[in-house]
Amino acid sequence: MSKTTPIPPSDYRTAAAAGIASPRLQKSLQGIQNRFGKGAMEFWAKMDDQELRHRVKESRMNTLAHLDIVLAELAKNIRARGGQVYFAATAQDAIDYTLAVAKKNNVKRVVKGKSMTSAEIAIDPALEEAGIEVVETDLGEYIIQLAGDKPSHIIAPCIHLDRAQIGQLFTDKLGIDYSDDPPTLTMAARKALREKMLGAEMGLTGCNLACAETGHISLVSNEGNIRMATTMPDVHVALMGMERVVATFDEHRETLQLLTRGAALQKLSTYVSFQGGPAALTDPDGPREFHLVIIDNGRSKILADPEFREVLACIRCGACLNICPVYGKIGGHAYDSPYCGPIGAVVTPLLDGINKHADLCKGETLCGACRDVCPVENDLPRMLAALRHKLAYGSDRWNTSQHNPAEAYAFALWKLLVSHPVLYRTSLWFGKLFQWPFVRKNKMIGSLAGLATGWTKDRDLPPLAGQTFAQLWKKKYAARRPNESRAQSKEAS
């Protein structure tokens, strides 16, 4: 394998530059990071139960190691409650199944609860193609949908838009009088979406945490849109990444508490709703059909690799976004994925191709903040470095080709030079000779040619010195070095 491919043109850089240039985004991100990122770090530090994070991580890893058993138990218990469970190996399987359920129930409108998994499998276009209206109901996601935009934060999807932009959007799309007052805008969306939610045949949600022992999925929300989408329509379809499950009810509690703390420092989200099956015949409301779609879509490949299995322990709280210095500057759009920030930089390449998303792991700084804040202590920097390793050397397992062969050759050459002093000195001698055309009046190298252009684009390099450190040392200080016998006798005395 390991064939070489040219570096693809990068949208990452363009989007990152746009993010950095947006004062609105910078202010919003700073606000959210100061509040939630720092807040989570402080909370973990003074939390009474200092073993909690470690315990939950252990239970997450234990569940992953027995995932076949845990998922079978979940499916069994949900079926016992009258729910239907479908195992989707690929995104297309999940889409096909959901479409079939929609067709069978003559669905004209689907109301969605915020779900990154639904974005990952790109189910919206498939539903729309089938002539079904798709409405996002989370306020942030709804705004994004109206704007034809993409979310830029896991829990605050429209953080990159300001109130004036949203006000104008609502005037254009909802026909309300212009206002930039958040309560007024929220009330307008509340009214518009209430109609949509009361008149939809299907609710489509993700799944924050399923509990195998009791046979439930659980969903968290502050707005109540997820409860609406799972209560008022006749059919509820929940899409669940296969790792989003805990074995026992006890584990559910501990994991849930880390999720809501990590996400927004809440003891609990406003609503934590548990669904295990359709409404009973005696219930006057609730869905008549409940479908759980458990999705692999590349996760089993991650599970199989001990280097990356840990990332499946992630509970998608978004804490790493709230602390990452890189995300905090470039914003979510640069990641070009439903999963942004440090977690996105690890999971997006693994799900969608390491070469395709090569910029993500290289863009992060490996500073370690995401590891420190992660409620389940995931070592994201380690995995980012592992991804870089795959890009540097190629990987058959991940079908990854060497990302930048020129760089590899350069390092191979460097290895040769530093391990052969004569060659090294000779090349230094040549370097000194040939650098002069590049040295400017200020005695600095201002621009280099070819592959080295990038090094001098934003900074000057000092030229190779006339004498090496070793030469200077010999000349100036070697004579002053105390001779060995004297130094030894001094120590002895």
Partner: protein, 268 residues
């Protein structure tokens, strides 16, 4: 089931196990290990009224942080008075006339709201199981009243179990949610609540509610009433504890008493 078998085979392969050999949970007793709940349950059941009052104090203080209007009512009459006051004074949002819907729950039925709101132009609905028009009635209601099965002091959470006569939409679709929580159903924290839940056969659907619906999606400005109720009023039904008068120190807890007269008059 085919899709399941293929799927789980892939997982076993990923875990480096013989792909076709199904594993059983009985081989891994630790995986679904249960912690002993007897101690927690005993603690909950043996709580004295004084201890419960302390929990009420914690609940009220946490409720305040979450914008829940929580107060203590000493009797059913006081609870009814507080509700009548809310029904009379709160504004309508989606509908032109005042409808109120409440769960078919003994604590709520006992309030006889229909009686004390007679002549006020208010229609009271009860969520009786077989009522096919209940969906429409709930959508028409501006206030929904429930009696949660469990209250959690630590996080100011109420837990609603879905069961016949106690549907999901009552605490969700109306603009205002009023919950009448019996003090004896109050527990200290989520661990206690989970122990209680585990002990009851868990229903197919239940929900933990910790506040009115909220969003901060527009410039991180907090707004209440995104999709669910914009207000949550929590009435803790808590008969006076004679031995020790507990001062919760929370202002506003005596409020309902002030409506007592208004209510008693309407009852006559």
């Amino acid at each position: 089931m085919d899709s399941q078998q293929t799927f789980l085979t892939t997982i076993r392969k990923s875990l480096g196990l013989p792909p076709t050999e199904e594993r059983s949970k009985t081989t891994f007793p630790g995986l679904f290990r249960q912690t002993n709940k007897a101690e927690i349950l005993a603690r909950i059941r043996q709580r004295t009224p004084q201890e419960l009052d302390k929990l009420v104090g914690i609940l009220l203080s946490n409720a305040k942080d979450l914008n829940i209007s929580a107060s203590v009512v000493a009797s059913r009459d006081e609870a009814a008075a507080a509700i009548v006051h809310l029904v009379k004074t709160k504004n309508l949002e989606f509908t032109p006339t005042k409808h109120v819907v409440h769960h078919d729950h003994p604590d709520l039925n006992a309030l006889q709201l229909w009686k004390c709101l007679e002549g006020e132009g208010v229609t009271i609905h009860t969520t009786f199981g077989p009522d096919r028009q209940l969906r429409e009635k709930t959508i028409a209601s501006f206030i929904g009243i429930t009696a949660p099965a469990i209250g959690v002091a630590e996080s100011a959470t109420i837990i609603q179990l879905t069961k016949p006569g106690q549907p999901r939409s009552t605490s969700l679709v109306p603009s205002i949610h009023i919950a009448v929580l019996d003090r004896k159903n109050l527990v200290a924290d989520l661990a206690e609540a989970y122990a209680l839940l585990k002990e009851m056969a868990l229903p197919d659907s239940f929900v933990c509610i910790s506040g009115p619906s909220k969003t901060a999606d527009i410039e991180a400005t907090m707004v209440h009433g995104a999709h669910g109720p914009r207000e949550l009023h929590l009435l803790v039904l808590s008969p006076p504890t004679n031995e020790i008068a507990i001062d919760t120190g929370i202002p506003g807890t005596e409020e309902p008493v002030a409506f007592q007269e208004e209510y008693l008059q309407c009852k006559k």
